[in-house]
Structures are given as structure tokens and as C-alpha cells.
């Protein structure tokens, strides 16, 4: 099993900071102020599942020049110190009087001129990970410095993945490929869906996932009602379609794709719908190249499905997160560039309020697209004979 190597060389982080600082200069931002896991990890490499705990805030300041400054709870200093960031300022959190805001305000006051603008990600798919009362307090403690949007700098940087990032995503996808190929070992008639979900996650781990951040899916006669539900204890029965959609993680990078399986005998209309979905994803793949738009990929896929198109957007970016910009919807006119990593995720209405979805992962190359997942066959794999 070939694998990317873990981590990034310091040069990769310095390149990210340098590109950010170029954009900051264009937009007259004296600093970026970051609070969420992917934003902070993007510049520091700080990788931990400890973000699952909402207790403590974490801060990173990227100044107009020079290296980023981490302002973090002391519980994180050992791990942060193992990366390339040298200026790590800590406080003992939780602190009910001042949970890092004083230290953060002092840092911003030091790094940002008195009339400077501080860019905070405020656009689509972002949020501020900080108690609202502390956000108000912070603004009161930084004098005339202004908090403004980040001019989508984080989005623009993260939209295009580096070669090393792509290799990590490719590794994650290949792990999921292998796990999906083993679904016949764990799913068949009589198996409760919740047990299938559990055992599928174990397969992902066995095949090399660091952890499995996302698994959703569905099972039902002739399709499923949605694609975001957790499992029930309903046993699989003949005639069901089983769909598993996973976002597993390797070294901090996701895959995000699904597979459908048929419990024989499968309705011929459902089998035909699955083939149409595969054709739609293939049409999206054929259209995917630098200069095409996100909307163009949507239309390429929707064109194969006609008025049966359904199930939401037809794909999206991903990488450090399960889903990222752009969205493959008619309203997204983002141009594709080499290094963008996307899901192609057409959906089809199969009647009675049910849908089928299908999803592949691709990377945009200099001239075309390349699959990161191993494309699924037109004919839905059958689990019927296997148990």
C-alpha cells in the first residue's frame, strides 16, 4: 500500500503565509485573525482531535509580515511547539475572568497599527469560534483597530490544493476505495443498518484511516429518503438499496464519496436510475478542466438526468474539511483551476419521495480531471448472493 508521507515541510507553510500576505497587502489588511480548526491548521499544521471539545478558544494571528503568532491555551503548547511556529503565547484555559482575550488583544495591539484593519473570515462556510461575549470584549480592547472581513483570502488560498495536499487526499480516497470493496463482507439480508455502519467504519480503520469523521447513508426499497441520517436498527431486506457515504481522514485530509449496493432482486427502474447517475458523474468528469465553471459541471450532470435531477447540489470542494467551496450549483460561476479537488455528486428522484445519489472524487489537472476515487461501475454491485 503506497502512502503519502505525514506532515508538511516548513516551506509549505511559509508558502501559504507568503501567499496570504500578498493578498493581505492587496486588501490593506494588517493581520488575519483566525479561530477555527482548518484555518489555524492551514498555517500551523496543528493537528489534533481536541477541537471536539468546545471548552477552549484557540487563536492565530497572521501579521502583514513575519511569522504567525499562536495565542492558545497552555494545554496545546507542547503539540504546537512540535511544529514550525515559534511565537506561541499561552494562557491557562478555562479562565473565567479572561479566557485569553487580554493576551489576544495585547498581541493584536502589538502586531497591528493603531488604525489597522484585521481580516476575519466572514463569508460562506465560515464561522467565528469564540463566545460572542468575548468577541464583543475583544473589539473593545483593541482601540481603533477595525475588524473587517478577510476578503475571502482563506477561501481563495484553500480552494487550490498543493501537490502534497492532493497526495494526502488521494491516500484517504484509496483507503475508502478498499473499504467499499469489502462491503460484501459486512452487509447482506438480515443485517441491521446500524451494525453495517459500525462494521464499515471498522473496515475504514483497518484499511488505514486515522479516523472516520463522517458516515451517513440510507437503505430502503427502491431508494432512500435522505442522505444525512444516522443508522437505524432496521435489518436490510431483499430489494433494498444500501448507500454508504464516508468522509474518512488521513493525516488531516478527507475523502468524501459514496457507493450504492443492491440487495437482490433489485427493481429494474432503480438499476436504470443508478446507471443514469453514473453517466451523469461521467459527464461531469468529462466537463471538468481548467476554465470550466462549477455551474458548468452542474449543468453537464443535470443534462444527463433531465427532470429527474434531484437531491441538492451536485458536488463541492473538499480537503481539510468534508465539504469546502465551491458548490456545483447553477449559481456558482467559480472557474476551475489545476489543484482544485471536487466531489461529483449527482442525485436523482426515483419517486415516492425517494432519491439515489452517487459520488466520485476528482482533482483538476493542467488539462482535464483525474479520478481520486476508483469510479463505480454502471451496474450497482449486488450484495444478495453474498450471505
Amino acid at each position: 500500500v503506497s502512502r503519502a508521507s505525514r506532515g508538511f515541510p516548513e516551506a509549505e507553510y511559509r508558502d501559504r503565509v507568503s501567499r496570504a500576505q500578498t493578498l493581505m497587502a492587496e486588501h490593506e489588511l494588517a493581520a488575519l485573525f483566525l479561530t477555527t480548526e482548518p484555518e489555524i491548521r492551514y498555517f500551523t499544521g496543528f493537528l489534533t482531535r481536541f477541537w471536539e471539545s468546545p471548552t477552549r478558544p484557540w487563536f492565530l494571528v497572521v501579521p502583514a509580515s513575519g511569522d504567525p503568532v499562536a495565542v492558545i491555551p497552555s494545554i496545546g503548547s507542547h503539540l504546537m511547539g512540535q511544529g514550525w511556529i515559534r511565537d506561541i503565547r499561552t494562557w491557562t484555559s478555562p479562565d473565567y475572568d479572561d479566557d485569553g482575550i487580554g493576551l489576544l488583544a495585547a498581541t493584536l495591539t502589538e502586531l497591528v497599527p493603531p488604525d489597522g484593519a484585521i481580516g476575519v473570515p466572514n463569508g460562506p462556510e465560515t464561522h467565528l469560534r469564540l463566545p460572542l461575549a468575548d468577541w464583543v470584549r475583544l473589539q473593545a480592547e483593541i482601540g481603533a483597530r477595525r475588524m473587517s472581513g478577510d476578503a475571502l483570502i482563506l477561501q481563495r488560498l484553500r480552494l487550490v490544493k498543493s501537490g502534497r495536499e492532493i497526495e494526502k487526499i488521494r491516500t484517504a480516497c484509496s483507503i475508502a476505495d478498499r473499504a467499499f470493496s469489502r462491503v460484501p463482507e459486512i452487509a447482506g439480508p438480515g443485517e441491521p443498518l446500524e451494525r453495517v455502519f459500525r462494521r464499515f467504519q471498522a473496515l475504514c480503520l483497518e484499511e488505514g484511516a486515522d479516523w472516520v469523521s463522517y458516515l451517513a447513508g440510507g437503505a430502503g426499497q427502491g431508494g432512500y429518503g435522505d442522505v444525512i441520517s444516522p443508522a437505524t436498527d432496521r435489518p436490510l431486506v431483499a430489494g433494498d438499496v444500501l448507500m454508504l457515504d464516508t468522509g474518512l481522514v488521513w493525516d488531516g485530509y478527507f475523502c468524501d464519496f459514496d457507493r450504492n449496493f443492491a440487495l437482490s432482486p433489485i427493481d429494474t427502474r432503480v438499476a436504470a436510475a443508478h446507471s443514469r447517475l453514473i453517466d451523469a458523474a461521467s459527464a461531469g468528469f468529462a466537463a471538468a478542466r481548467p476554465g470550466a465553471t462549477a455551474a458548468g459541471l452542474y449543468h453537464a450532470m443535470a443534462g444527463e438526468l433531465g427532470d429527474t435531477a434531484g437531491g441538492g447540489r451536485f458536488g463541492h470542494g473538499f480537503g481539510m474539511q468534508l465539504t469546502e467551496w465551491p458548490s456545483l450549483i447553477p449559481e456558482d460561476d467559480s472557474f476551475l483551476e489545476p489543484g482544485m479537488v471536487l466531489t461529483l455528486e449527482p442525485g436523482i428522484d426515483v419517486g415516492d419521495g425517494k432519491i439515489l445519489v452517487h459520488e466520485e472524487n476528482v482533482v483538476i489537472t493542467e488539462t482535464a480531471a483525474e479520478y481520486l476515487s476508483t469510479p463505480a461501475p454502471r451496474q450497482m454491485p449486488s450484495l444478495g448472493e453474498c450471505e
Copy 2:
């Protein structure tokens, strides 16, 4: 294997809403406005891993009287519709012109009087899950209605768990108990830590976890440097202490405890430090009863450790999240009440920048505390002979 049943009866949600509305009346709040996973799930039962995707915002409005109103992306309407919430208002997200803010503002305008105050969680351990630009836009679209804090109403409600919540947490803890008892099957000299992490997660799933949201730990000679790191590929060697700390989930509720294991021969000072940690946790347990304070539990544990106490706070609440209020620190004077669920998590400095930690899970009863995890023995279990 005995288990709690999945879900809650509608009466449990109605009780939560009723208690919220009583507190809202005391604080003259005309509505609560909620945006995060645990806040929305607490009142609706909406359980999905789809929150892993940052793309779409989700909103819940709890009015001063009457049932909550969900304002959510249409991709969630099928799942939300299977719960008890009847008023579900949806839009197709992502929408680059208006990602639900117009619909949300109309809902708030309908449910809140023109001069009413809307409570938004803004205190410790909270954040607003909504792009900052949309937050600004929302406030401009609701007229003279004021956004204010939630008077810690969410915190006050969630601090005390219901009997059904405790049974779910007990189920999660018993799954982790069984997984920890099987660590000798997967860890021993020569085994890389990252493989131990993977296989431990698989054990958690095999023993019944729905998913494993958190696993951290460490391994090293005589202790470990921190407790939040992901695994490296370093193989375990004789003399290591291995610590695994998991937050696995059953029906939306966490456990959160760790276990230490010795790879023989273990340093006698490390063995003694482990025994002192167990004694510290026992002292915390003995002190835990209604009327004691969070700080009191800290001091009971710290008293056993003297000047070797280390590693951060000595425990915290948990339940729907891996960590919740209160914190077992000297500054937290929260009184314990029956139904509160806590970790007891003393840490000890063992020199050379290394620490040991130990963690148990308990629930406060009418008169004392009860273990939810099976307490660890004073003598660290040895893995040396097992492979």
C-alpha cells in the same frame, strides 16, 4: 449487553422547552436563537453527523410560548420531519444571495414582538455557527428587536441530565469499558502507536459505539508530553506508558475517559504516580455529592497530589458534547446537583516535562456519586506479557 433505548419520547423535549420558557420569562427573553449542533439537538432530537459539513447554517427559534420553529436547509427537512418538530421552514442551501437569513428574519419578526429581546448563547463554551457577515445582516433585518445573551439558559438546562440522558451516557461508558478491557489484544511491544489508535477505535465500534468522535493519547518512557496529540508511527517499546483517552458516542451521547497501560518493565516511580492518580480520583469521587462544588472536587483531588498536581483542569461535565460545563478548577464554584455527569481527571507531573493523567466518569445522585466507568485499579495494567 443491556442498552438504553434510542431517542427520547416527545414528552422529554416538551419538558426541556417548558423549562427553557420558564427561564426565558424570568429573563424577559421573547425567544432563543440557536445555531449549533448540541443546542438544536437538545430541543429537537435532530441527530446527524452532517454537521461535519460547514457549508450550511441551521437555525432553531424557541419562542416564549409554543413549540420551537426549525429554519433549516431543505436537505435536512426529511430527517427533521421524523422528529416531533412540526413547524419546519426550509430553503435551498447554499444560496449565495440569501442563505436563509431572510427566512430566519421573517420567522423572528413573526415570533418576537417589535421591541423584544432574543437570547443567543454567548457565554463560555459557546459560539455562533453562522458566517459573521450573515450575523450582521440578520441584525439589520429584524427591526428594533435586540439580540442579547441567553442568560446562560442553555448551560443551566444542559448541566443537569435527565434519567434517559444518563442511561445513554452509561451505555457509552460501558462500551468504552469493554473496549479498554481488550487493549491487550491490540497493543504491545513493537506495535506502532498509530496502529494501536486505529485498532482501538475498531474495538470501540465492535463493542457498540455508533462512532468514535474522539481518541487522543500518548506513549513514552515514563509518561507523555501532552494528552491531545494524534498518534505517531513510533512503535511501543518496553518501559513505555501508553494512554488512550476516548470520547465515543452512543445515540448522540458521549463517554470521556482514559486508561493507562504499562509496557513492562515499568519504572517504579511511574507505577507509584499512577497509584497516586487513582487515589486522587477516588478522593474526588468521595467528595462528589449534591452541595459540593466543582472547586471542592478539584481540591479533594489536588490534596492527594500535593505539588506534583499537573496537567490542567481536573475534570469537567460532558454528555451531548465531549466536554461541557462545569470545570473542576479552583475558580469554579458551581454547586453539584443530582443528574450532573462529570469526569474526574487528575493529572500528575512526573518530571522531564512529562505527565500522567487518569480519568473516570461519574453521575451525581441524590446523596453521593456513582461511577459510570468501571474504576481502574491502582496498579497499572501491564501489556508486556501479552505479545
